[in-house]
């Protein structure tokens, strides 16, 4: 690592589309730093799949890499086809909470169940940002959004717990107030086999923060820092005390055999049987 880290060497020469203060910058930075620290000089061993939403624009088309920008919610099925055919490539899915936890949720659960060898990074800004700030499956209870002007009357979904229950090999949640932990989790996830899920809780000052009572991005990051509690502490709290908290840390780390391993073993056996 003689050369100093710069995101530029991994990016196309295009202007990034994110609003000032957007958390996508921090997630992009953490990912590329992780890649750099793992010794990847470029992204030629990676394929990125993403759906629709601001977070899906992190790789597409800005990463100097192969990227497939799919319809809303469909990044994981497309990544399934890519990974099964190209098992040697690192297949990484970027998406927002609307994309992954809303319209694409079924695909997410099934990919975790299959232990498909992909890394899913969900940038959770708790809102549909690109469409102007509507309530999401991850919006905190009572939060005001454009479609819940009286406050959200639904409970948010805990995607990290869901991924762990569905069968993922690695699950972590951090926030943009924890850039170093986020980067380290991404490094670990890239080096792990099977289904890996990282939730990056992220600020959207434009479409969420201003309606939810935050003056700017800085206030939101401060909120993340002050309300984040580690998993081991959270285990001691009841549901009510946890409602306003963001539980961070590593939820699961295991080595279940993966989908790619299983599929290729079957192919090998079927071909052997044919020869006999």
């Amino acid at each position: 690592m003689a050369e100093k880290f710069s995101v530029k060497k991994y990016l196309r020469d295009l202007k990034l589309p994110f609003c000032p203060g957007c958390g996508a910058f921090a997630v992009m930075d953490a990912f590329l730093k992780a890649v750099y620290e793992l010794g990847y000089e470029d992204l030629s061993r990676f394929v990125f799949c993403s759906g629709i939403g601001c977070a899906s624009w992190i790789p597409s088309p800005y990463f100097m890499a192969d990227s497939i920008h799919t319809p809303h919610g469909r990044s994981i099925p497309v990544a399934t086809g890519v990974k099964l055919l190209k098992p040697d490539l690192n297949v990484v899915v970027f998406g927002g909470d609307g994309d992954i936890a809303g319209i694409g949720l079924s695909h997410f659960i099934h990919a975790a169940r299959r232990n498909l060898d992909i890394l899913v990074i969900m940038v959770n800004n708790m809102v549909y940002g690109m469409t102007g700030g509507q309530v999401a499956p991850t919006t905190p209870l009572k939060a005001k959004t454009t479609t819940t002007p009286y406050g959200s009357f639904e409970y948010p979904l805990d995607m990290a717990k869901l991924a762990a229950a569905a069968g993922a090999n690695y699950v972590a949640r951090w926030t943009t107030a924890h850039p170093n932990q986020l980067k380290e989790a991404i490094k670990k996830a890239i080096q792990t086999k099977g289904f890996r899920f990282i939730e990056a809780v992220s600020q959207c000052p434009t479409a969420y923060g201003r309606r939810a009572g935050f003056k700017n991005a800085g206030e939101m990051i401060k909120w993340f820092r002050e309300n984040a509690i580690p998993l081991w502490q959270a285990e001691k709290l009841d549901e009510d005390s946890l409602a306003q908290k963001i539980v961070v840390g590593e939820f699961v780390e295991r080595k279940r055999p993966t989908l790619v391993e299983a599929v290729y073993r079957i192919i090998e056996e079927a071909q052997k049987t044919e020869e006999n």
Binding site: V47, P61, L84, S106, E274
Partner: protein
């Protein structure tokens, strides 16, 4: 038996489709169980691993075609198979495959709809969905087999067209054709044409334009290809507000199909040059037309037929020619008029177009029904 050998087989339509796919080079199948298309998935679940290919059952039809698109960008020929309800779910990604120029094959084994309808019963009600099912301005390529033999030849053709034109191709089958068992001749390998997508040269960068059908890299080959369903320029970069970029892209995507109707549109015809009554049909219904025409001729009515093996793009010129010769054109189909209007439009008033429609319970239109209509219309004369 790695790939099927030259010879004659007694196959179900679905089996012929599966074997043809493998012979055409298909190495990835993703699907979701649905009557009456599940046999295709079952055949490929067994056969694909034997040739080094991958079958997978996904959580729904949306995911199935999504995985097929991913596999195609990973360099594989890939296919999915479904029926009406699943075909409806696939429309989103069919549009995506069209917009991103992703070659793939979608088999729709038609059953009676709308909605769940009659799951085990034959119908031909998806003709217009196959043409217009996804949103926006697009052109569909849709083939229509009428026998297990054609489930074989047209599946192979579907892959060849998909690869040549870099577009999704729909094999619009039906319950009868996919479930019936007949003799299927598999030609010797040297007689089989297999088309593979054009690959880019090392220094090429325009994978989405500049020529009618641009070269297609696979991911992982170093081309850093950016694929998107948003409006994009020749290099795959999103341009979502420039009207010129949108027109250039969408017009090319349509023209690459519409400018080649002559090559794509395939049909079987008989006596179109010298008939009083013409019959235009496709799929399972067309099987009744042969006998009907023969019997009508035996009773002295000059009859001809056009059997469409390609529904879309629609062979307007052929139908127009038929309309110039025939006084009347009869269109039997197992729906409440779909290709009928297309025939009427192409006939430009030069012949009277008369429908025969039957839906429900999988009851086929019989040779007698078609023959009686031919005789009746011949007797009536021009009125």
């Amino acid at each position: 038996m790695k790939t099927v050998k030259h010879g004659t087989y007694f196959w179900q339509g679905s089996e012929a489709c599966a074997e043809a796919a493998i012979l055409a080079g298909c190495r990835f199948f993703a699907g979701y169980p649905i009557t009456p298309a599940s046999e295709i998935a079952e055949n490929l679940a067994k056969r694909l691993p034997q040739v080094g290919g991958i079958p997978i059952q996904m959580e729904d039809e949306i995911a199935s075609i999504g995985a097929v698109i991913g596999a195609s960008w990973a360099g594989a020929k890939a296919m999915t198979a479904t029926s009406g309800p699943g075909f409806s779910l696939m429309q989103e990604n069919i549009g995506y495959a069209f917009m991103t120029e992703t070659p793939c094959v979608i088999v729709d084994v038609q059953r009676a709809g709308p909605s769940t309808g009659q799951a085990t019963k034959c119908a031909q009600g998806d003709v217009m969905q196959a043409r217009w099912g996804t949103h926006g301005d697009y052109s569909a390529m849709v083939l229509s087999p009428n026998s297990p033999q054609e489930m074989f030849t047209l599946t192979m053709r579907a892959f060849n067209l998909a690869e040549k034109y870099r577009t999704p191709v729909i094999l619009l089958s039906d319950e009868v054709v996919a479930h019936m068992r007949e003799k299927v001749a598999v030609p010797p390998v040297e007689k089989i044409e297999i088309i593979n997508r054009k690959k880019p040269k090392a220094d090429e960068k325009a994978f989405f334009g500049l020529v009618e059908v641009p070269p297609m890299p696979a991911v992982g080959e170093g081309f850093k290809v950016a694929v998107t369903g948003s409006t994009h320029d020749e290099y795959g970069i999103r341009f979502t507000s420039d009207p010129k970029v949108h027109r250039r892209l969408v017009e090319r995507l349509n023209n690459k199909i519409q400018n080649h109707i002559e090559e794509i549109a395939d049909l079987e015809s008989y006596n179109v040059e010298d008939c009083k009554i013409g019959v235009v049909s496709y799929g399972c219904t067309s099987r009744a037309v042969y006998e009907a025409v023969e019997n009508a001729e035996a009773q002295g009515v000059k009859t001809g037929y056009v059997r469409l093996k390609t529904l879309w793009p629609f062979p307007e010129k052929t139908i127009k020619k038929l309309a110039e010769k025939a006084e009347k054109i009869i269109v039997p189909e197992m729906n409440l008029r779909q290709i009928f209007y297309e025939v009427e439009r192409a006939a430009e008033g030069k012949a009277k177009v008369i429908p025969i429609n039957k839906i429900g319970g999988g009851e086929l239109i019989t040779p007698e029904e078609i023959m009686h209509k031919i005789l009746e219309e011949a007797k009536k004369g021009d009125g």
